[in-house]
Symmetry: C2
Subunit: 243 residues, 2 copies
């Protein structure tokens, strides 16, 4: 039967914020990279998909962070796929600190995109089924990303997409969107290392040179974010601090 | 006798630019992290220094990059200290690809700062001498960072220092300055993977909330950069493409 994958991580100086703890955006990227390595090891990652002109695209994710590891400490990322339907495959994560304590949980939904037609592939058919044998019957460790409505009003800030923002696909890096969101959080919430839940929807990709606007608003104690270019909405997100 | 240190690296997806090669800013950060780990292993890194309220500060560096490794490839960083005087310690780097070919060389000068007095410590005395026994008599693999004059005129762009820009010291991350410079390079030079030399002077630290202005100009085929806040010049740099 299929087994979960484990990846050992080390908190390097460049992963730290001013609390000397791992930055949440870096934790999320470490998790997404672990997902990539797991898929690579199992033969259904981007590289292999490209042979069929297919690629995995992150659609939604939710992460709950109770604590963040300190500098020079080790932590471990546990990841597994719990299931899929025609459109989306679900990959989960649990993060454990040096003492084996769970400090964060994450769940994400991925679609397989046909690069030629730019449409999603039916995961119950052919190439979609390659990861079939790797399902682990352990459900999501937290609620999947919830509904996020369009954000019309709020405080607005601009960001031009530069070379350092883009990835190998010439798209804005996932971590950059997440950093744009964290740059808008109340700084004291970060100093106090307050537990939080982040929900993210990835809708469209921003490309080099595009001007992005991040809109921020608050509704019933939840911070809402929308990152959009002139033409399209790229990312919607919400952050809720947990007591 | 003292020996050079070696650090194995792997080009992860997040290290790639749109040429599917390791981004130069990420290469430089990997080298600076290798320096930190080497100092840590030998007991004269930030952590140990803080005990004496001393810390290493990067003053100047120069890097020459002939080529950049491709995604999923391994590379190796060789680093050693070649000497020091009262003010500056010189640390060098050679980078080798999977085939053992040298693809980049780098040299850097570091001062030891007393955090209380904010003045540099005489390296020929007491704590400065802790790294004495680790000198390797192999000189700089490239010319040290050259003279960089103040830049009065040029094209200007602003950047507000945000949470995602700052490090554990609440200062702008070194990699962010370097990314600001690479964001101003002609994009075709990057697509063509043109060999280049980068000279950098680190003069003052930018802090959270400060508005930075990057000024860019060209003189005799060399691109010049100055990053300054309202109050002070933070970084001066030059980029020359090598034929």
């Amino acid at each position: 039967m299929a087994e979960k994958a484990y990846f050992k991580q080390h908190v390097e100086p460049q992963d730290l914020d001013f609390t000397s703890r791992l930055k949440a955006p870096n934790l999320i990227m470490a998790a997404l990279n672990a997902a990539g390595r797991d898929a690579h090891n199992k033969g259904f990652d981007y590289v292999d998909m490209e042979a069929d002109n297919h690629t995995w695209v992150l659609g939604r994710m939710a992460i709950e962070v109770k604590d963040r590891p300190k500098q020079y400490s080790d932590y471990q990322i546990e990841t597994w796929i719990s299931g899929y339907n025609r459109i989306l495959s679900t990959r989960n994560f649990r993060m454990y600190d040096e003492q084996g304590q769970e400090f964060a949980v994450m769940t994400s939904q991925w679609a397989m995109l046909d690069m030629t037609t730019r449409t999603s592939v039916d995961l119950t058919q052919t190439t979609g089924k390659v990861h079939d044998i790797y399902m682990v019957p352990d459900p999501e460790p937290c609620a999947p990303a919830g509904r996020l409505r369009p954000l019309s009003d709020g405080e607005r800030h601009n960001h031009r997409v530069r070379y350092s923002d883009i990835d190998f696909n010439r798209h804005m890096n996932t971590i950059r969107y997440i950093e744009m969101i964290f740059d808008r959080l109340p700084i004291e919430a970060i100093s106090e290392n307050r537990p939080f839940r982040l929900d993210l929807h990835f809708l469209n990709e921003a490309i080099l040179g595009e001007m992005l606007t991040i809109t921020t608003a608050e509704q019933e104690g939840t911070l809402l974010f929308e990152i959009a270019s002139e033409k399209k909405t790229c990312v919607r997100a919400s952050v809720r601090f947990l007591e």
